[in-house]
Symmetry: C2
Subunit: 411 residues, 2 copies
């Protein structure tokens, strides 16, 4: 099996395309709006309130316009595959669209119009929480049955079967939003079809408390007890784990999907990254809320935050280990390990962030220092989508984005 590397060609450094495994593209529209003490910014849970108000108002056109800008920003940062953890499905009153996958189709079109790969991770959301009513926004997320979730997955699989950039995965939003019996059904269905199965896990301590209140055990223990963990299970965040849970994740050969720029932003805390890696977890990264502007920072933040935590250097691994997490393993977490070598990015070796790197240390400089400005050429599935640092649709995408968010926030 090949491993990702960085290679110098003239004035370029060639790297494999980056994979961001966990994205909520519509949250790009919240950038800059939730950072003040006075504005419900004090915790994850108040941030979620702002996100819900946005989710209440978005429609297929604004979903497309926002996602297209979010994905353009990813492409311009060297990302060639996005895993879109898609959970806004229905009309504002909870009624499905005539085309049930209207909003999923909008984000898929946003990605393919930009030219990057998308794994649409159709996310089941079945309740407001343990003994909690649905909020207005949650009605848009809500799935009344497992069958309808799976029907949507099959619709998407069939609709995009021939599209080279589109694949489909399945997720349960969280143990908070999906009862455990439904969760078992979903996981078994994904397992039978060898589909990726993603889930938000252990992001906030409150989730642990709620899990214990409902089930008597913490989330990963609950998933292990119910046979839900597998080699295609992708545990998003995995911030607050005990040692038994680390064992369950690694013994089952799961992916751990860190989203450090969002986790930093939301004050999630520091995950047990070193313990996970030492136990053999498959590491991948995600842009999540799109609060971070730099896909290289997503990758290096894993190591840098672990250094802060352990007061030592090179604690997770060398740069080549981190590059693997940011490329091949991200593709694998989306069921696309077979194609990671088809996508590539050329960086300007003379960009201020990289200039002077000896050929022996390209990967170290790329992982620890690259900035999006260095991205010059991006190739996905044999097509060039960024040329000389420019994407041809930039002006139109920006214009449509500004119009969409003005309507959303002023309307």
């Amino acid at each position: 099996m090949n491993k990702p590397t960085c290679v110098k060609h003239g004035n370029h450094i060639e790297i494999p395309g980056l994979a961001t495994v966990h994205s909520h593209a519509f949250q790009r529209a919240m950038r800059g709006l939730t950072q003040r003490k006075s504005q419900h910014a004090g915790s994850f849970w108040s941030w979620r309130g702002v996100m819900y108000r946005l989710a209440e108002r978005i429609d297929p056109d604004s979903m497309y316009a926002i996602a297209r800008l979010a994905y353009l920003e990813l492409a311009m940062s060297g990302v060639t595959l996005v895993g879109e953890f898609h959970y806004v499905h229905h009309q504002p009153d909870g009624t499905p669209y005539d085309n049930r996958t209207e909003l999923a189709d909008a984000v898929i079109r946003a990605a393919t119009d930009v030219g990057i790969r998308i794994c649409l991770i159709r996310t089941a959301y079945m309740r407001g929480g343990f003994q909690q009513e649905m909020t207005a926004a949650q009605r848009r997320f809500s799935d009344p049955s497992v069958d309808l979730v799976l029907q949507d997955v099959e619709t998407l699989q069939s609709r995009y079967a021939d599209h080279p950039l589109v694949s489909v995965g399945l997720a349960a939003h969280s143990i908070r939003a999906v009862p455990i019996a439904a969760n078992r059904e979903l996981a078994a269905w994904a397992d039978a079809r060898q589909l990726p199965f993603h889930m938000h896990v252990c992001e906030q301590r409150r989730e642990l408390e709620e899990s214990i209140a409902e089930h008597g055990v913490t989330p990963i223990q609950l998933l292990a007890d119910n046979g839900i963990l597998s080699e295609r299970f992708v545990g998003v965040h995995s911030t607050h784990l005990n040692s038994a849970e680390i064992h369950h994740l690694t013994h089952n050969n799961c992916f751990v999907n860190l989203c450090r720029t969002t986790e930093r932003d939301l004050g999630d805390g520091l995950p047990p990254t070193v313990e996970l890696i030492n136990a053999g977890a498959k590491l991948c990264v995600g842009v999540d809320s799109h609060c971070g502007e730099n896909a290289f920072e997503e990758i290096r933040a894993i190591e840098l935050d672990a250094r802060s935590q352990h007061e030592a250097r090179t604690v997770v691994g060398n740069a080549d280990f981190l590059l693997d997490a940011g490329t091949r393993l991200g593709y694998a977490a989306c069921g696309l390990e077979a194609v990671w070598e088809q996508d590539r990015v050329l960086l300007d070796a003379n960009d201020l962030s990289l200039i002077g790197l000896p050929e022996s240390h390209l990967v170290d400089g790329v992982i620890f220092n690259a900035t999006p400005r260095a991205v010059r050429e991006v190739y996905v599935n044999g097509q060039q989508i960024v040329e000389n640092g420019q994407h041809p649709e930039t002006a139109e995408i920006k214009q449509a984005y500004v119009k969409a968010i003005q309507q959303l926030f002023d309307g």
Copy 2:
């Protein structure tokens, strides 16, 4: 007193020039070279070994070439003032240059040729450590007497008295490298002249242990006991503090100079930022080792790392508080509060990192999301140094840098 703000002008967001208070420009040449387990990268102290080998070989020409590239990168990230904590003074065998301030003059020329302000912080370095011999590299740093240190400060003050971009400050490298009696003398001299007085403090736990071994107390306690703290004292790093030391720093109205991208890189740990701010510390930022490529990340990292530490949001302060730390307070830490309003930076409001920000939330977007690519125009002391995202000397600066480091590492 005015406070820094962000203002929209057409397609630009105008912000005050950023101040990076703590820089070792020559360390830019180490970028990417110390990140591997096998290469002495495992701790701060092994990283220091690599830095020492570089410091042994550098000469006035390579110092100039490296510093000029480092400062160009700062300017292109919106930085208009650098505090250069300058401690490489002498020839490789420790003999002073004929012009004693040859290397200081080289870094000053690097900054003024790029067009940014520099506060040359002439740094006293008087011993290898408590009961420790000087290493070869340390001979280049070494000052045999306080008088010679102060003579250099006066030489620089006199030489650049009429230069609008140049000012001079004084530093003791650390309590490790400067005996306490000399430290008292230096601080008193700076105090009498109202000069900034900077010092590395409490970056690594080993420093605390060494201070206790030599003096029986931790570093800030030692400085407080010796009357060294003042409103012009700048405590660089201030990572490992007890509550009495936090009180000493804030009661004396000191500056605390966090350098989060370097502190993350070196595994220094997480400082007690919230406690310092709540007690009233004056906060400023620094690029330090130049391992970070984004001056906005230096600023936001203060809040983001405190969020990870406290598992909450907006714990240090809102974006306008952080902007003040990254601009006005940085100028003040270099004795230049009177001029911070003279320098300004225009960002492209339509850069992918910033597009769509409402005018009410410009500062939030700038602090939490800006990337160097967004910097379009930079004005220092009335002169424009960056125009339409370009600095006119870029090609020549890059070429000279590559040549210099090839000679250093291959020679």
